[in-house]
Subunit: 463 residues, 2 copies
């Protein structure tokens, strides 16, 4: 007889933690660091705060390979009433909105805490000073895996002597610094490369301090939450929007619910779909909703999604970042206009660096980023690798391998189509693939001009 049971989300991700990147101690140490760093950056640069982030990994025990990972930031902090669930309940967070953020699943820090809990038994330490608060709140939290809820072991409140804001998160996990070292150092380095406005300190278990000082004081404009685009609808989303939005008529509903839908576009759409503008949205049947969803996706008269919910790096930052780490002789960057897939706005940006101190290689060096996060694993499964190695004929641009060629790709979106919850590679979404190809070609044409010019100069010198 079959034993039926249900799992809580905490139990599910505990059993299947390799799916979230916690597949062995080295990888788990890496994932722990990045989940905490990504939360710290989301709490700062998405809010117009110049980030100061301190990362420390130290050996916690001599007998066992246990490491304490601590990340402190000067971000907006967390309201104390939300701390227990934000750290103790899987699938709980503040990033379930349509805006470009690094976080998106409500799972990341809980995976690190779970992994620490099962390998070392230690609770997470959270200290937070919410923006404008006079108090610092300190917690020690474990996760009740079966119930998927927090166990608050300790909660303290202390009045601050001087005003500040931010958060510190500290966990102890089983890890393997020897194997993880190069990737963790590279992750921090590439994070800093695309965040030159951030002050990042990283102290590692060998006692070395890696410091990436702030080099510009200008923050890119923070992304703004947006409404869904009509091309992204399905029946369930329509049901949810109808029950959450006050609208007496279908016309009013369309204008209120969606981005890119003004009164004129809404009226044109209703005519196209042959729908009565005055129907009460709550009176639509499932078949009506099915029809409405189909027509909304079909209609071409809506403006394309705008980029206000996005925060691209910009060509200046990409070129400066490539110059700094690669010391190439040529560099170019391209930031494309906003595009969309399934109603989600996205922007593709590409940088190409050539020559100089880049060692020639059989394939290009690929630096992948998504929502400003460096992606270091699963390169060959990523859509960017496919485009760079299979869809671009580099000989058309004067490049023959082995060549000193490096490519940076950045995909930013209200929803990056990751292949897995570990956020290591991006899926082959056709619209994204097409934009990557176009962006690389645009940049490669400028590389071609440079290479040809250089060839002519060499020819001229010989004569």
């Amino acid at each position: 007889p079959e034993k039926f049971k249900s799992l809580s989300p905490a139990e599910f991700f505990y059993r299947n933690r390799e799916i979230a990147g916690f597949s062995n101690p080295a990888r788990a140490l890496y994932q722990t660091v990045r989940e905490l760093v990504e939360n710290a950056l989301d709490a700062t640069d998405c809010y117009g705060i110049l980030p100061t982030i301190q990362v420390e990994i130290s050996r916690e025990s001599n007998e066992a390979p246990h490491y304490r990972v601590t990340v402190a930031d000067n971000g907006i902090g967390i309201p104390p009433e939300h701390v227990p669930q934000a750290f103790g309940q899987v699938l709980y967070g503040s990033k379930y909105v349509l805006k470009q953020t690094r976080g998106m699943f409500g799972l990341g820090v809980k995976m690190a805490i779970l992994y620490g809990q099962i390998t070392t038994g230690k609770p997470v330490i959270v200290e937070t000073v919410p923006y404008r608060s006079k108090y610092k709140y300190s917690f020690k939290i474990l996760i009740d895996i079966e119930k998927n809820q927090p166990i608050v072991l300790e909660r303290k409140v202390r009045k601050l002597k001087r005003r500040r804001h931010g958060t510190l998160v500290s966990v102890v996990v089983e890890g393997d610094w020897g194997r993880a070292k190069s990737r963790i150092i590279e992750y921090i380095k590439r994070t800093a490369m695309v965040a030159p406005y951030a002050n990042i300190y990283f102290k590692d278990p060998d006692g070395n301090v890696h410091h990436y000082p702030r080099v510009i004081r200008k923050l890119p404009p923070p992304p703004k939450e947006t409404k869904p685009h009509p091309h992204g609808v399905d029946i369930e989303l329509l049901k949810t929007l109808i029950s959450n939005i006050e609208a007496n008529t279908l016309l009013e509903f369309l204008i209120k619910a969606f981005q890119s839908v003004g009164e004129k576009a809404a009226k044109e759409f209703l005519e196209f779909a042959k729908l009565d503008p005055n129907i009460k949205p709550s009176e639509l049947s499932i078949d009506d909703l099915k029809y409405l969803a189909m027509k909304l996706k079909e209609f071409n008269g809506f403006k394309s999604p705008r980029g206000t919910s996005l925060s691209p790096l910009g060509e200046e930052i990409i070129e400066a970042g490539l110059k700094q780490i690669l010391k190439p002789e040529f560099v170019v960057a391209v930031t494309r206009k906003p595009s969309a897939y399934s109603g989600h706005p996205f922007i593709v940006e590409v940088g190409i660096a050539y020559g100089g101190q880049i060692p020639p290689a059989e394939t290009p060096y690929l630096y992948r980023f998504a929502n400003k996060i460096p992606l270091l694993y699963d390169e060959k499964a990523d859509v960017a690798w496919k485009v760079v190695t299979e869809e671009i004929d580099w000989r058309n641009y004067g490049v023959t391998f082995p060549a000193p060629l490096a490519i940076l790709t950045h995909i930013c979106s209200t929803k990056v189509p990751y292949k897995g919850v570990g956020k290591e590679s991006v899926a082959e979404v056709p619209e994204v693939e097409r934009e990557l190809k176009n962006a690389i070609r645009e940049a490669a044409r400028k590389l071609k001009t440079y290479i040809s010019k250089k060839m002519r100069e060499l020819e001229a010198k010989k004569k």
Copy 2:
């Protein structure tokens, strides 16, 4: 101010369905078919029933690309009191036990139902006759996404005229038969290839019937549920075992909780760990548990995990399958002894086919299987691809590319270390990687013997 909220598991997987393989209509149609077929096979061959499986995909609508996917089986059926949750609650199932089954997440059929619900609005139809029941139960179910619970639209009971048992599941999803066709046909073909004891009928939207008749009447012994192996412990697992198992002493607990731990091994372990055999397990502190987990993983005196919870294909089935689809001139198969990773038993099996009707190619053709499921996507991200293309020097075995070489790999385990919930590629777990390499070398040595013999015969002919 940040908007904090929690998501139900249904909501989480609805929003992030590309992570479960539902990334575009073609891929979603494929995933829908396979989730239903894998459930049907688990309900038959794991219970000593010779499977008869009927799969039908038909075009449901002329205006929209909607397809009805129906899979019927002669399996053990589902008890009616569990049907609503089995089909209407994400993270609910009967395969959360330590035994080799195709299913493992309690998610698969719900993803197909969710996807159908959001793209076509149609509920799932489930008809089931549990083993030995006199009644057939019919349901129509939708998923309440926000609450992650079933909405039973219809439930009927009918007395059977003649005895039988099995289940029928039918959903309507948005799909793309044109793009998905070749992969779906290949999936069914490879499923039949490793299940020659199954009768499989597949009727596609073009009206074609693909029939894979039963060719052997002998079923492999069904896998048996096992207890965890001590090398797979962590602090949380110990806590759970202690609260679920009646044991007055630590000695009794060790013997009852784990596989491969008899009285002698338990006593030797307690001596090694310097622990008192008579402690009451419920009185162990978190630090005691941490120490116990560490020592259990360290101790070498436990027998390695046994293979009773596994059900390998066997060399006969692998060779027959390769011969049937490839018509090679040479074929060999190797089934390794059971091994383990993190306390989970696993067996690696490999088949090599060479020459005959296999067209020469620059890389080997790779047929990957895990727990008898054919894996058709994400080949380059799979550990098997890495081993076959990077860790074996084929010239050592007389193979130079282009070569007419095909390799079949099968990994079976109580927990296949998939990279994602869509079950398309296997992660690089060191123990599994090592076993794959050893299995391929073992088979390749026999290929080498064959190739050398053939070369000598050719040489002899020339003289």
